[in-house]
């Protein structure tokens, strides 16, 4: 019942280690002979793999434990039964000896001999032997006994043969010898066949249950292991596909809600995230290719143009100044991209503090108010007394500055009527702190709102304004870094951009 006995072809493990993985072996169904060896290796591998699985090893452990338990139970049962039988025998023998002694006391040797003869004739009788002090038999049904038994009063086990028995087979018996007054010796005993039969039964039961445990355990182990292995193999297969670059694949989920399903579910969620990140990366590189290469081309064209056509120093100077302006715009775009990348990777989480977002709003309002005024827009700040948030003061300021800058650039134009107004608000709502910028400009059509949060997207009507096209995606990335979000909504007319952040408790005065 040990693991060694049931180990299948002994070297399958070694073969498993040296051979190609299971899946490959399976795929080689109808292959030229040169590959048959590999196919065979593949099959032993499958077996080897099966034996090496955790599920199978667990089965073996369980089987061993179960077998030990069964053996203990059987042993306990046998021991108890044996004790019971022995007790019964002793009780019967004691009673008979008492009865016969009584007969002897009442009617002497003749009466007891008579009683013994009588009892001997009953079916299933006990063993009786009455001898003289010298050992000569007087009455009884015992033909032969082990030597010396009759001389030792008390309990003993012996081999015996009955008088009337034809065969020469010997039996075991438990006997008691008693000294009667007058030198006679009385032996009464019971056959132990019952006890031996019990022993045989227990042995057989042990053998059978052992075999059953072994067979059922192994079969169950194989079955369970195969099931687990099939699922794991399916997972491995998918994983390999994914590793080859197909990120759309997902691990199969059996729907049983077991631990493998949970694992697969988590891995799928992880893949989802990786795919999103990869998608983002691809999108960024595409956008970089487009939006950084365009100004780079302009830069280069400027220089080439100057080299080819510029005649005077003034013309050269102009070209160089244009070049510097272009490169500054490029650096700006690049910086914004870096901030976004940092925010999205979560790197900027160091240096986070608890600060008052209302104060940030007032600060940004103060910074942009003169600019707004110059553009003919009123910038109004409606900030709560305090609104505590946890994060990077600098990044939140930057995000808010971008929103205000956008509102001044794009939100003011349509409001050319009398006076355009931009409202910068900081308020607490429930467990959120909302930083919002509302303008009365043309707004953004609902269909375009999700798109403008992407990097570099600038709607056609805004192409004329300077800017990297990264303002909103930067604000969005910063909001997400802080566990919040950036939303766009209509201001009827105009646009409201809102950064919603988790509110935190006020810092303790000691901090």
């Amino acid at each position: 019942m040990t693991a060694n006995n049931i180990a299948l072809p002994g070297d399958s493990d070694a073969a498993g280690l040296a051979s190609p993985p299971h899946g490959e072996g399976r795929a080689l169904a109808a292959q030229p002979p040169s590959q048959l060896a590999r196919k065979f290796a593949g099959r032993t591998t499958a077996l080897g793999k099966l034996l090496r699985t955790t599920a199978f090893k667990l089965t073996l452990v369980y089987m061993t434990v179960f077998a030990l338990f069964a053996a203990f139970l059987l042993g306990y049962f046998a021991w108890n039964t044996r004790r019971l039988i022995t007790e019964q025998i002793t009780e019967t023998v004691d009673a008979e000896i008492e009865g016969l002694s009584e007969q002897y006391r009442l009617g002497g040797i003749r009466r007891i001999a008579f009683a013994i003869e009588n009892r001997s004739r009953r079916p299933g009788s006990s063993l009786y032997l009455l001898t003289t002090a010298a050992g000569e038999g007087v009455a009884g049904n015992v033909g032969s006994l082990a030597t010396g038994i009759i001389d030792n009063p008390g309990w003993s086990e012996t081999i015996y043969r009955r008088v009337d028995e034809q065969d020469s087979s010997e039996h075991h018996a438990l006997v008691r010898v008693d000294q009667l007054p007058g030198g006679f010796r009385l032996l009464v005993g019971r056959d132990l066949e019952e006890r031996e039969r019990l022993y045989d039964i227990v042995l057989a039961a042990g053998r059978w249950s052992g075999a059953i445990v072994l067979v059922l355990g192994l079969a169950g182990g194989f079955f369970v292991t195969r099931r687990v292995l099939t699922r794991i193999d399916a997972m491995s297969q998918t994983t390999r596909t994914i590793m080859q670059g197909d990120l759309h694949e997902r691990l199969p989920i059996a729907g049983t809600g077991d631990e493998l399903d949970r694992l697969a579910g988590n891995l799928n969620a992880m893949l989802e995230r990786i795919e999103a990140l990869m998608g983002g990366l691809k999108e960024v590189s595409d956008n970089i290719a487009h939006d950084l290469k365009t100004p780079l081309t302009r830069l280069r064209n400027n220089c080439e143009e100057a080299l080819r056509a510029a005649k005077s120093e003034g013309e050269y100077r102009l070209a160089l100044e244009r070049t510097i302006a272009e490169s500054e715009a490029l650096i700006r775009t690049f910086d914004a991209l870096l901030v976004i990348a940092r925010a999205e990777s979560g790197h900027a989480r160091d240096n986070m503090v608890t600060f008052d977002a209302a104060e940030i709003a007032r600060g940004i309002g103060e910074l942009y108010e003169p600019l707004a005024e110059e553009k003919g827009v009123t910038l109004k700040v409606e900030a709560a007394a305090v609104a505590w948030v946890h994060g990077s003061r600098e990044l939140i300021s930057q995000a808010l500055a971008n929103l205000v800058d956008n509102a001044i650039k794009y939100g003011a134009r349509a409001g050319s009527a009398d006076h355009a107004e931009i409202v910068l608000a900081a308020a607490e709502r429930g467990d959120r702190v909302l930083l919002s910028v509302a303008d009365g400009g043309p707004g953004i059509a609902e269909a375009d709102r999700a798109r403008v949060l992407e990097r570099f997207v600038r709607l056609e009507q805004s192409r004329s304004e300077s800017g990297s096209g990264l303002g909103l995606s930067l604000a969005s990335a910063i909001a997400r870094l802080h566990g919040g979000e950036l939303t766009l909504a209509s201001n009827h007319p105009g646009l409201v951009t809102t950064i919603s952040l988790p509110r935190t408790a006020a810092p303790s005065p000691l901090a």
Partner: protein, 224 residues
């Protein structure tokens, strides 16, 4: 002004040295960290310009070693790492200013000159430029006989400009030192603040004090 430029990019270092010499400064070069530290230890410099990433010994370690030895020569760190936390790390290591690459020379020059002068220190209670007076204690600003009423931020803007009177201060320097923002505000918001301030202190006076330095920034000085 005597400068030590510790920069391993030969071209960049040569360009900087040439540019500084053109505007009348003395510039020494060191191309790795150990050489730079040796120079900084025995030379008398007004400002050190230290690249953050250097062969043999990095920029922050050089500054750390100098500060441990009690040498307080102002140091400006140049770095490709321009995020706020990088800057904080640089300043914590003992740097006095931090400039992210790529930078314009005018920005570097303005900051270097401010650092060199800061060493002497202009920390009087009353700043005077021409007939313009700023009292840091009572927060009163007067020009000639007239009192000028400024918003708190305008006061701090003027205070910073007057503290560095006669020196060019760039828009970024103003944004960093007056507003304490280290990001790019997209539009030149500072220009509008300056023109507001200018209208308060220069309007109606024959002698303008607040000047725009083309391609660099602003400067306040007595134009006589």
């Amino acid at each position: 002004m005597r400068l030590l430029i510790i920069e391993d990019d030969r071209d960049a270092a040569d360009y900087l040295a040439k540019a500084f010499r053109e505007v009348g400064h003395v510039a020494d070069l060191a191309s790795d960290g150990e050489e730079g530290l040796a120079h900084a230890l025995d030379g008398q410099y007004d400002v050190l310009i230290v690249d953050r990433m250097l062969p043999k010994l990095d920029g922050l370690s050089i500054i750390g070693t100098l500060r441990n030895k009690g040498i307080e020569t102002p140091a400006l760190i140049l770095s490709a790492l321009g995020q706020v936390d990088d800057r904080v790390k640089g300043l914590r290591a003992g740097g006095d200013d931090y400039l992210a690459k790529p930078y314009s020379f005018s920005e570097l020059l303005a900051r270097t000159e401010v650092l060199a002068r800061r060493h002497g220190g202009r920390e009087e209670m009353v700043y005077r430029v021409g007939d313009l007076e700023l009292d840091r204690l009572s927060h009163r600003v007067t020009r000639g006989e007239a009192e000028i009423v400024l918003q708190p931020r305008e006061f701090r803007l003027l205070e910073y400009l007057m503290k560095h009177a006669g020196q060019v201060v760039t828009r970024t320097m103003l944004l960093e030192n007056v507003w304490d923002y280290h990001f790019d505000p997209q539009t030149n918001v500072i220009d509008v603040h300056i023109s507001r301030l200018r209208s308060k202190i220069d309007k109606g006076f024959t002698q303008p004090l607040l000047q725009t330095v083309r391609g660099a920034g602003y400067m306040i000085r007595d134009g006589k």
